[in-house]
Symmetry: C2
Subunit: 323 residues, 2 copies
């Protein structure tokens, strides 16, 4: 960890420690390729399949690093977070592996399936009203009552060091990469990718892919400061959250460019991936492929690592099926 104007920034040493720490608790996920998508894009696409990861998403890397890095006296009080997505599942999974409680604050209105999934991994849910003020109040109460350690979904150096192990593995598995592309929401995965690549492979380009309808990172990147949107709406529901100071540090310093795709382009790329690669991926993971296909000139002829971030999808409401 090093200090940047008061910001605790993880270093590559933290990534090495994280990888040995979490190795027993995560999968070394496989790389898949598709002749069809290579022909379509003109690029050599190497898909790092975190949809096959424990708890169904890369977020288990950062969550496990945070949970297993806690000293025993802190750990016994448990961990806590507010999330209704993959971070809540992942933190619950990691806490369960360590045998400590995981408190999750979720809106009372969250889908029952999401609550069941968190409980399925052993998470303890405290419900709040669906507003930021209620979430913050309820979360403060849970923290005060339990003494649990707060683990932010992305703006946390332990989490970013954990996510950085994904591109470390990618570099170990695939030689000769020209670029790596990952979806961007809060920027945890992209920050981890920046941390690894800027240290051990600084010649590799780093792209972030974002929905047009939630393009706050794109606009922040172009403006040179964080712009946060109020409640963006996109099918890529993992990508609605804004950048924060720590992820902005990496994005502003290390990202080559941010590319965006429309809702229809994202849905088409998602369906194409299911059809051709026979894998179940979340809408969020389809954003990189969507931007590759619409920016052919940028990627053709290059070997590109594409991070498939997760596979937790509601199979009853697929975006291309009319309900």
């Amino acid at each position: 960890m090093k200090d940047h104007n008061g910001l605790a920034v993880p270093t590559y040493d933290d990534v090495l420690v994280a990888h040995s720490r979490i190795a027993p608790h995560i999968h070394r996920t496989p790389i898949l390729t598709s002749d069809y998508l290579n022909a379509l894009s003109g690029a050599d696409l190497q898909f790092k399949c975190e949809n096959f990861q424990k708890a169904g998403a890369f977020k288990v890397r950062g969550a496990s690093n945070a949970v297993f890095g806690l000293p025993d006296d802190l750990a016994q009080k448990g961990v806590a977070t507010h999330s209704s997505g993959n971070h809540a599942l992942s933190l619950s999974y990691a806490a369960g592996r360590r045998g400590i409680p995981c408190h999750v604050v979720m809106p009372r209105t969250a889908p029952a399936a999401k609550k069941d999934a968190v409980r399925g991994y052993g998470g303890i849910i405290t419900e709040c009203e669906p507003s930021t003020s209620s979430r913050e109040a309820v979360f403060a109460q849970v923290e005060a009552q339990t003494g649990a350690e707060f683990v932010h979904p992305y703006n946390d150096p332990r989490v970013i060091a954990g996510q950085a192990t994904c591109s470390k593995e990618l570099l170990e598995q695939v030689e000769g990469l020209d670029a790596v592309i990952a979806p961007i929401g809060g920027g945890g995965m992209v920050s981890g990718t920046c941390l690894t690549l800027s240290t051990i492979a600084p010649h590799i380009e780093i792209y972030a892919a974002e929905p047009e309808q939630a393009d706050d990172a794109y606009r922040s990147f172009k403006a040179g400061h964080i712009i946060a949107d109020d409640a963006p709406n996109t099918v890529a529901d993992g990508l609605k959250v804004p950048l924060k100071d720590l992820t902005w540090h990496f994005v502003s310093n290390n990202v080559t460019d941010i590319l965006t795709a429309s809702e229809q382009e994202i849905i088409d790329a998602m369906k194409l991936t299911w059809q051709r690669m026979k894998i179940v991926i979340e809408p969020s993971c389809a954003v990189p492929l969507a931007t590759i296909l619409k920016n052919r000139d940028r990627f053709a002829g290059k070997r590109v690592g594409v991070i498939i971030t997760g596979g937790n999808v509601d199979l009853d409401t697929l975006p291309w099926v009319k309900g």
Copy 2:
């Protein structure tokens, strides 16, 4: 090849020849496992993922063996078949790789998507009326006009020797198997599995899994002779066809048992596989898992190879989504 009362039965030497012949044209598909499904079944399930195979299904093994085994003078006239499923795709793919024509007779009423898929792999479609008599008449005409070599979807020693390479790979990839299970329709994959296992690993049990609503193989197995159904109806649309003399030879001599599952059990197992393993599989491939889950006592404690036969699914009409 050896003769059994006038039947040309492939031998394991044919499998060895087939594997070297088709290796440049197929994927050595990976084995996936799921802690969740292991806990649910009590077994150690090793999934052989032919959904990741070229053309999306194991059928490309048999089709490639038939196509690349043809002498040049025969090959130049092309190959022909009647199928609206994976065999038509696979034969078209293999013929395309060899640069010879592939003629496919399909009912005029087959879904446009299936016709497009065959054409996408270079197949030449001749339409017939949706009746057996029309199909036979049109097919005879195509054969006479082109001189193309007929490759039956399963009742062909070249096709069975090709499908047998799948369990050969499985044995190379996984040690200590107690049983192998595959879905059964016409019996091509099961016959190939019998051919390989009965020769090089005769201690391994061989199970075939079949929809209750198309249980002609089950009833044939119990009766001791082939029983063919007229137009069975099941969500597992790859498994509607009956056994023929050559596949019956293997099924009757080498299969340990045939197990059946209801439509709902098949759909549940399919959805569970998508949710938990994050892979796209056809309804047909879910029949083995469905029978494993309903016959816990039979499989618990065993290491079981489960052949996932294909991943070509119409994503617009999933069986658990109400249209």
